[in-house]
């Protein structure tokens, strides 16, 4: 079938709705945020329209640089942990019977319905000294006495991985199910053990999906602001925590907006870089 180029305004009709949605729900809020980031803050929680760079200048300090670095490192770690855990899990899931697969997927979906707050408090209990998992370890003789496993970086990481894992699995699942199962079998007939076949057939064949999933989880994790507060110490707070703090508790909207804009730009830059490297690798 040959498609004709659009002739009149009406031919662009199907685009109006998504374009409108994009405008209302993305362009307008983001534009507002960029504008606010240049506004002048007034004492007492208000701001007046202006065009000043002071909000960005304040951000360019060692403290905020450190927080930004930590946020990016945390998000990357969460993304890698999630994909490393989800890949073998989803592959094994795809080989179960239809019925078991549905049960697992429904279970994972129900984890998605948990709010960040519930996840945070559940893990803080599980990792606490009085009622936590360490009591169990004492029972089975792994530890001498119960210890508090939170607040700590490990606790933040655990909570965030727990939260992002269902997304990761649900994103990987369709690609893995669609992958021709005879590819793995062929690898086995060619002398590859199942584990080696997983690494040198399945992983490379799913390269693009894995890349996209890493980026998705990375961005998802960057936005997390409750878990670092509930499960971490102040040095484990991410930029999102500071943005929330500035916007809500310090009532400094212009500064919060500037940080948010900066975070978005850095994120976009990193994603573009990743895609570029991926493209290069493809050609080689």
């Amino acid at each position: 079938m040959k498609r004709e180029p659009p002739q009149s305004i009406a031919d662009y009709g199907p685009l109006f709705f998504p374009a409108g949605m994009l405008l209302i729900f993305f362009v307008v809020p983001f534009g507002t945020m960029i504008a606010v980031s240049f506004f002048q803050r007034q004492e007492g929680g208000f701001y007046t329209p202006a065009f000043v760079f002071s909000n960005y200048e304040r951000f360019l300090s060692a403290f905020f640089g450190g927080v930004l670095g930590f946020s990016l490192m945390l998000a990357v770690t969460v993304a890698i942990c999630c994909v490393v855990l989800a890949l073998p899990f989803t592959y094994l899931l795809s080989r179960l019977s239809r019925r078991l697969q549905v049960i697992w997927l429904v279970g994972l979906l129900s984890v998605l319905s948990l709010s960040e707050v519930i996840i945070g408090f559940a893990w803080s209990t599980l990792l606490s000294r009085t009622a936590g998992l360490s009591n169990l370890f004492v029972k089975i003789g792994l530890l001498d006495q119960p210890v508090a496993l939170f607040p700590s970086f490990g606790a933040v990481l655990t909570g965030m991985v727990y939260q992002a894992l269902p997304y990761t699995i649900l994103v990987l699942y369709p690609a893995i199910v669609r992958l021709d199962p005879t590819l793995m079998e062929a690898a086995r007939t060619l002398g590859s053990s199942p584990i080696r076949a997983f690494f040198n057939v399945l992983v490379p064949a799913l390269r693009n999906t894995i890349m996209a999933t890493l980026i998705m989880v990375f961005i998802f994790a960057l936005g997390s602001y409750l878990l670092p507060q509930i499960l971490g110490r102040p040095q484990h707070w991410t930029l999102s925590v500071l943005i929330t703090d500035q916007a809500i508790y310090q009532s400094n909207m212009p500064f919060a907006a500037a940080m948010a804009v900066f975070l978005v730009l850095v994120t976009l830059g990193l994603v573009a870089l990743t895609l570029l490297i991926g493209r290069k690798g493809e050609k080689a």
Partner: protein
């Protein structure tokens, strides 16, 4: 004995029996075709041999050693899948080199073997191409080369030519057979195309409903089918009821056929007569009476449909021996005893 032996092999999926008590021995260097209608268990049997499916029952021996519990990757076999299963992320050369890489072969050795195999499959210089840029026939050859890279003991192919167009398929059948003879490798091919089986195989194994119905050389399958299924499945045939008369002699439609013997003690049997073995003469004189209902003259062959004893019998003849008959004419059917194959019940 040397070669592959299947003893008593069965495979159940739940309550469904896909392969039922199969005995098969494949001597070293032979070409075997598993032939049968769709769903008869051919692929399952091939996968059991490959170790991709565990048999519910039975044992598999290779050169006398029991390999039933040996995992696929240690069985030293090459397999071509129906989907070909070429690795999309690797080039043609890397696909063929994959098994060598897994074995840790040196780079130069890999390259040498890949070049050797590319020449063997008539695709020299294709090593650097991406798999996606190949035609169907070329992919087929690459899959074959990859499966042969380690010079396996057994070469398994699941409907390898079914995706190709008719002309290419015929050419590839001949090529595959020649390749097998050149390498002298034990080869088992699954197919549902009898022409393909007859072209390539030393032994045709006809399967139905998970059972092996007959395993024999192609011409014997055609000339001496074991039962009605095989007779009907391979080529076309006339299945005719034979009864014993009071003196014990075999009769067809009440007419005694001299020289035809029923199995000892049997009162009736079904015989198979190939259309080209049915001879038409003038009625009477000991021939079976019939009436011509239709003559289909195809130029190269002439099919004559004759009604006899309430049944339709087809006779095929060449234009040289053109029977001078027209529809409605009474004729005599002569079946010489040596072309009547008595089938198992």
């Amino acid at each position: 004995m040397s070669g592959l032996v299947l003893n008593n092999v069965s495979k159940q999926f739940g309550t469904f029996t896909a392969v039922d008590n199969v005995h098969l021995s494949v001597p070293h260097g032979t070409f075997v075709c598993l032939l049968g209608p769709s769903g008869c268990g051919k692929t399952t049997l091939l996968r059991i041999i490959a170790g991709l499916e565990d048999p519910t029952n039975g044992t598999i021996l290779l050169d006398g050693a029991d390999i039933t519990d040996v995992p696929t990757h240690r069985r030293n076999l090459g397999m071509v899948f129906q989907s070909l299963a070429l690795f999309p992320h690797l080039s043609v050369g890397e696909n063929i080199a994959y098994p060598l890489r897994i074995r840790g072969a040196a780079r130069e050795e890999q390259k040498k073997r890949v070049d050797e195999l590319l020449t063997l499959i008539h695709l020299p210089g294709y090593g650097d191409r991406p798999v996606s840029k190949l035609s169907g026939g070329q992919r087929q050859r690459v899959a074959i080369a990859r499966a042969l890279a380690l010079s396996p003991k057994i070469f398994l192919l699941d409907e390898p030519l079914s995706a190709l167009d008719a002309k290419l398929r015929e050419a590839m059948q001949v090529e595959l057979r020649q390749l097998q003879q050149k390498l002298g490798i034990t080869t088992i091919v699954v197919t549902h195309d009898q022409r393909e089986a007859m072209t390539m195989a030393d032994t045709v194994v006809v399967m139905n409903g998970g059972h092996i119905r007959q395993a024999a050389p192609p011409i014997e399958i055609y000339r001496k089918p074991a039962d009605t299924f095989v007779a009907d499945f391979i080529g076309s045939t006339n299945l005719i009821e034979t009864k014993a008369d009071s003196s014990g002699a075999a009769t067809i439609f009440g007419q005694r056929v001299t020289g035809l013997a029923l199995p000892a003690g049997a009162q009736k049997a079904t015989i198979s007569v190939r259309p080209e073995d049915v001879h038409l003469t003038a009625p009477g004189n000991g021939a079976i009476d019939g009436t011509v209902t239709f003559v289909r003259d195809l130029g190269g062959t002439i099919e004559t449909f004759v009604e006899a004893g309430g049944q339709q019998i087809v006779a095929v003849s060449t234009p040289r021996e053109r029977p001078e008959v027209t529809a409605g004419q009474a004729v005599g059917i002569v079946l010489s005893p040596d072309v009547c194959v008595v089938l198992k019940q």
